[in-house]
């Protein structure tokens, strides 16, 4: 019999489940599939934990990555955030995990958008020379200047970046 909706078997799972001998004696029910994930009845964890984890997984991928600077076994292999330049409707995406500090970030973006961006650690006198400054949206939805908080903390709160015209700030 088939489970309603279970039209796609996940081949990867199907192949790995059972050894030939065991299969004779055993009932293997419908394999874990997207359908079960949607029904949310397996694995058996309570709904509050399930929804908390689902939200955390999507919104806070940042949090897991910050502390894995030393070891190679990273929880996630990328942390892409959207980057827009003011006046340009099409944005870019940047993987923050490829960067190590603010200098990296500024130089990468300056290159990507072919412009000069104020370096947060730089001399304020240079400010007049740059065309743009870098801002970011944090977890609370506020737009902030990049560079005030430690890099690690920035990684946990940044949601997206915007390059704004220097004369606007």
């Amino acid at each position: 019999r088939t489970r309603r909706g279970d039209l796609n078997t996940d081949l990867r799972l199907g192949l790995s489940i059972v050894s030939p001998d065991a299969q004779k004696d055993n009932w293997i029910g419908p394999s874990v599939s997207k359908q079960r994930e949607q029904r949310q009845d397996w694995p058996p964890i309570k709904s509050l934990l399930r929804t908390t984890l689902a939200v955390a997984g999507k919104a806070d991928t940042n949090v897991h990555n910050v502390h894995n600077n030393d070891n190679s076994d990273r929880r996630r292999t990328s942390l892409f955030v959207k980057v827009y330049m003011e006046g340009v409707p099409i944005g870019r995406k940047l993987d923050l995990l490829t960067l190590h500090n603010y200098d990296d970030l500024i130089s990468t973006l300056a290159h990507m958008f072919t412009t000069s961006i104020t370096c947060p650690n730089g001399d304020r006198a240079d400010h007049a020379k740059s065309l743009h400054v870098l801002t970011y949206e944090d977890r609370e939805g506020d737009w902030m200047m990049v560079g005030d908080v430690p890099w690690e903390m920035f990684m946990t709160t940044v949601k997206r970046l915007k390059i704004t015209r220097a004369d606007r700030c």
Binding site: R12, A22, I28, G29, P43, L48, G57, D60
Partner: protein, 580 residues
Amino acid sequence: MDPSKSRDSAESTRVIQFPNDVLERILSLIDSHRDRNAVSLVSKAWYNAERWTRRHVFIGNCYAVSPQIVARRFPNIRSVMLKGKPRFSDFNLVPPNWGADVHGWLAVFADQYPQLEELRLKRMTVTDESLKFLARKFHNFRVLSLLSCDGFSTDGLEAIATDCRHLTELDIQENGIDDISGNWLSCFPENFTSMEVLNFASLSSDVNFDALERLVSQCKSLKILKVNKSITLEQLQRLLVRAPQLTELGTGSFLQELTAHQNEELERAFIGCKYLHALSGLWEATTLYLPVLYPACTNLTFLNLSYAALQSEELAKLVAHCPRLQRLWVLDTVEDVGLEAVASSCPLLEELRVFPADPYDQDINRGVTESGFLAVSLGCRKLHYVLYFCRQMTNAAVARIVQNCPGFTHFRLCIMKPGQPDYLTNEPMDEGFGAVVKTCTNLRRLGVSGLLTDLTFEYIGRYAKNLETLSVAFAGGSDLGMKSILVGCPKLRKLEIRDCPFGNEALLSGLEKYESMRSLWMSACKVTLHGCKTLATQRPRLNVEVMKDEEIDDGQSYKVYVYRTVAGPRTDAPSFVHTL
């Protein structure tokens, strides 16, 4: 019967002559409902003395008895615990509007127990009307605990806060509720001082912090406070300095940009909590702020990190400060390395629960494995309760684990991919679970998983003589499996089965058994309507309820819920529930 009869009557005469009020006085000191049930069986006099002195009644299945029957037998109840839906409703296996509505009970209680003080509900449906009714009708009401309930909103909580003047406990956990606003907290009267336990951790709406701060300052007997995610670290600090007497704390969000000064203040606040033995909450906790907890961890016996996705290093540093830890709940982000740290830092550990941070992720390189579990069993010899979600396991590891910790009372292992064998030998997990039941003679609760043949159940039936609760999913080969359990486990009370090839023969093999059990649940198995009807006919004191399983195409699959009852078939069953 005859030679002993005269002796019995002589003895029972002696018992009857025992003055009633003395007997009642003595019996009123007995709290455990199991002891009381035993007491009530001694003689008619004891039955009567017991029923007049019982203050607390525990009803494990709200449909096993009616409120009228309860009220008739126990005239002086002040405290009630009621459980409703079958446990699998936690995992969406029971359709909504199934039942277990508390209102019928409240109506009878309002009449018979107007002095009711405590109500603890688990998996019941509770509407706002019921909460308003409760608040209105019971003037001495003190304790409301709602665990995994549904049907109400924060509006209902407003009524409780407004009208229950003597409330000492409001414990709202993991309910499916409509979280409209946090305004309910502001509904406590200005001069409210009685709160001892306040848990609103699972609600998401913001509450008025001033109202909370005032409540905490005024309630000098507040011992347990678990706030929700909306409370910041800064606000937490302000609450802690007003309640240094707390024994259990659930923090709010643990992620906030604090100044050095605020950090210091928070640390000092934690230092001031000298009586803390349980800690939870810690949403989004990271290395940045965990160290403020360290001073408060010395006497910690329970640490619940289910909402903090800690890495192994972070956990290791934290548990290094928790030498007296007895119970630990974590996410599998801590990995085996984190569990190894627990093994070396927490020798007194008795309970470990590891939940999956990414339950749908098939990547076998994430989470915990058999080696984490093994490490804990080596370092924590007092371990007796484990709930472990993992992606790989071996029979050898399980056998060694129970060899290290033979005192297991609760062994719940969930290998997340259904039907997964021992990943090293590719064999079923029969021998592993066999070792569990052979070695752990005190085992009361067992959750099995992985690839399992009927042999596992043969072992369980043969060895698990103290087993009371068994959960089975995606396992077994034939009816023989389920039969072995029903025939073999004398103390079995709750059996829940899903997605197993057990059919009518298996179901009917429990004919002699079900009346001594609380309940049986079977879904996505091979039971047919005919089998259920046979069971119902032969055992009129059981309710045999069937629901069509909508998920399965063949139109013949049913969810079956069987339970003993003295109340007859349900009168409130929805159209999709058929009592046979």
